[in-house]
């Protein structure tokens, strides 16, 4: 992770941090919570909280990992509240048919993101932090608030679960579906196999 120089409490520096890390934080949170609107909501909340606490940030921890820690905590709260709401919904809906999922959400989804959502939020976050943002074990440990010595085993377990969930095979023909167009295909392939 490339680290820029920031001064705790400097509004200009926080603005810079916001601009440079917004999409990265948003992406990590999207991998955890699974929908754009909720990820945006959590990311916004995280920046509000981080801005309030900016004076307390210590430069010995990477600023973006510190932001990730706040954002991941916001995502946990969101997931807990969503689960409570879902239980309430389930009770209210007993006996009634379930409403269908928004087709746009389905089209944008991929097998990987669906599988990431079946992992513990810590595991999903660790995978994105390592395999997308390129964080070191130390940075991941800081973002998750756990000992650095546990990161390698956490990552290994997370990937093992992910492979099982995806029924992943090294054969490209049997690999999970991506919402992105592959070379040689015509049109966008939706997750249900249809094209548009």
């Amino acid at each position: 992770m490339g680290e820029l120089h920031y001064t705790p409490g400097s509004v200009e520096d926080f603005d810079r941090l916001y601009r440079s890390s917004f999409s990265r934080i948003l992406y990590t949170i999207y991998a955890i919570v699974g929908d754009h609107a909720a990820a945006e909501d959590c990311t916004h909340d995280a920046f509000v909280r981080a801005f309030k606490a900016w004076k307390t940030w210590k430069p010995d921890a990477p600023a973006e990992a510190w932001l990730h820690r706040i954002a991941i905590n916001v995502a946990y709260s969101h997931i807990r509240q969503r689960k409570l709401r879902e239980v309430g919904e389930l009770v209210r809906r007993l006996g009634r048919p379930e409403a269908g999922k928004d087709p746009t959400e389905v089209a944008e989804d991929s097998d990987l993101f669906r599988a990431l959502r079946t992992l513990h939020p810590d595991q999903a976050a660790a995978i994105v932090l390592r395999h997308h943002h390129g964080y070191t074990n130390r940075e991941i440990a800081f973002a998750l608030g756990c000992p650095e010595s546990t990161i390698s085993s956490r990552l290994a377990k997370a990937k093992e679960r992910l492979r099982e969930e995806l029924k992943w095979s090294p054969d490209p023909a049997q690999q999970p579906k991506s919402p992105f167009v592959r070379q040689g295909e015509t049109g966008v392939v939706l997750t249900d196999g249809r094209r548009r």
Partner: protein, 152 residues
């Protein structure tokens, strides 16, 4: 047997990083909401939540739109096949810059996507109306190397 297991893990890591990088391209071209919303000093919690919800709805719509619009703008094409090729090119370029044992091409993908977007916008603003638009997807590898290579 152990070597086979290691090969499987490496192949999975490669697949995982490709998928994450492809997914991120939709996010990387979306600018953060303007005006530093975290600075808004709307003390009543309700007002803040209302403002946040409005921003969320607008931003979610922007992301959904920007995902396709950004790819169309960057590649200069409305053809999803060209976008697919573009995504593949960006991922390949970034992966080739990773040193052995390094993980994560997010920084590189983000930088490259932004760079290509800026190039494309410059070309459009310079009035490139001679009908010779160069599409990233048709020209093979994306040109240029992002300033910031991924670091661990």
């Amino acid at each position: 047997m152990a070597a086979e297991g290691e090969h499987l893990i490496n192949a999975f890591d490669t697949w995982l990083e490709d998928e994450l990088a492809s997914g991120f391209i939709r996010f990387s071209e979306v600018p953060p909401p303007p005006g530093a919303p975290y600075r808004a000093r709307l003390s009543p919690q309700v007002s803040r939540r209302l403002a946040a919800k409005t921003m969320v709805v607008v931003a979610a719509a922007a992301i959904a739109l920007a995902g396709t619009t950004a790819l169309a703008a960057v590649t200069g094409s409305a053809n999803p096949q060209v976008w697919g090729q573009y995504v593949q090119d960006v991922v390949t370029t970034c992966k080739s810059q990773l040193e052995t044992g390094q993980h994560g091409i997010g920084t590189c993908v983000s930088a490259l996507a932004r760079q290509k977007g800026a190039q494309q916008r410059d070309q459009h603003s310079n009035g490139q109306g001679n009908g010779q638009k160069k599409h990233a997807g048709q020209g093979g590898q994306p040109s240029g190397v992002p300033g910031a290579s991924p670091q661990r």
